[in-house]
Amino acid sequence: MTERNNPNNIDDPRRDFLVKALAAGVYSAGAAIPGLVVADFFGRKPEKLPKGRSFYRIEGKVLVNGKAADLNTVVTANDKLETAKGSKAIFVVGQDAFLLKEKSQLKLSAKEKFKKRLSNKVKKKEPQKTHVAEQLQDSALVNSMRLVKGGVLTVFGKSEHEISTPTASIGIRGTGVYFESEPERSYVCTCYGITELAASDDLDSTEIIQSKHHDAPRYILKDAPAGQKIIPAPFKNHSDLELMLLEELVGRTPPFAVSGDNYSAPRRGY
């Protein structure tokens, strides 16, 4: 079988056409095509998605558990999502909303409970932050996910979550967070809220971030001396506007309204 004929090839151009058509709702029963085109042209007012709906927007090729997704596809807490080059997916699972960037793989999973394996160590090292570690440990039900590659912007509800990448493990509570996963490093921006960062293979590299507005982006490195794998990073590749949109989809608002344009691409005043 050639790569072009491989049904699992997410970059097949024929699949691209089909997926885009599905995403636009062209094959939906009763779809009024001119209406859809007009609605898509003018965009949509972001609001809480109705029950049974997961996707707010699909651009390009998006797979859920290996199958092409459309706006009617339901994402559950144990699904695997994948985006191709130039593609993007905005979706909601429960009280959490996600913006999955291009060339990304995200594996969601629901766990009964997880223990923050690093919290006790952090407690010993940084007694002033004990209450944060305790807060992170107190949760009863936690969703976890693994970002294999790419980037994902997330806003979470009150419950506790854990995200892992090839180089990092991040505990999260009631937070907006942006992650990127590369083979040699991970990027984590705690847009607001509390996160606990840890290098996957180094118990000495940990940090608790308490952020109000992108205060402390971090890289978590694969190859660095023990205890020095978490280093400061620049703000990059996400925006306040995206956070506002995600929060709107789950009926919340972010804790800021004015950003002064400093978290968006430059444009001319006119």
Partner: protein, 298 residues
Amino acid sequence: MKKRIMIFHLTLLLSLILGIPSSYAARPFFDLGIDVGHDNNIGRAEEDSDILSDKFLTASVSANYLHQIDYNSGIVFKALAEWIDYQHYYALDHYVLGLSATYRFKPDLTYTAPWYSLGITGKRLEYHDSELRNGYTLEAQAMAGKRFTDRVMGKIGLAHHERLARTDEEGLLGEKLFETQTTKAFVGMDYFWDKFIFYGQYTFQTGDVISTGRATRKVVLASDEIQQDDAIGRDKNNNIRWAYRLKGDTHIGDIGVNYSLSRAAALDFTVRAVEVKAAGGNRYDSYSAHLGLLYRFK
């Protein structure tokens, strides 16, 4: 005159004092820009024989600082420097130094809630070889905007603009030629699509306008001030070109597209059309276009 310049300097000083970092949410960021453009009527002239076109290059840098007051409001301070270089009419080359402060308020944190802003901007203009044009500008602006959907955003605003001439020799005829006052209202729309922002704005402006050309009877009778233009020179028949100030209404249309190369860089292309209907039946129009590379860093 001196009193107005003193007010200008006090405004700049106040902006600097207010801009001193003091809050937890201090957010400095910097913008760089380089533009190439073409203006088909640099003197804003009416007669074909006076209409002169030129190309220009613009380089700009600004330092911006967000002082977030609370979740709903903040002030953005900006210090900017800009250099405009004309290909042929180099007397019009000039630099601009400016300061601005803009207060922004969004009472509701939701995505489509309206936002409001009040801003003041002061600039100093220094020309390569045009004493008439040297001076200061002050602008106060009020604006409101709203996102209607995730693709469409609109805004409306009002602004008052004053330009002050900078001269050491008060009382000479024409020295205050470039002292102008204008008031404008504008409405604009942005359309977001993938990495593109398509934008357009219509502005109606009323007040003083300045044009350069031969001093016809119509112009002389209608103008408030008139003086030999020290930058644009004479026409091909060696007639003096005069700069004159008139009362008039100006219609300005801007359309443009911004393409985001990354979160830090963008290409921006804008076309502007201007039509002026001034006192005494004087009318002129002009078109300009410019392409810029913009870069932002923190």
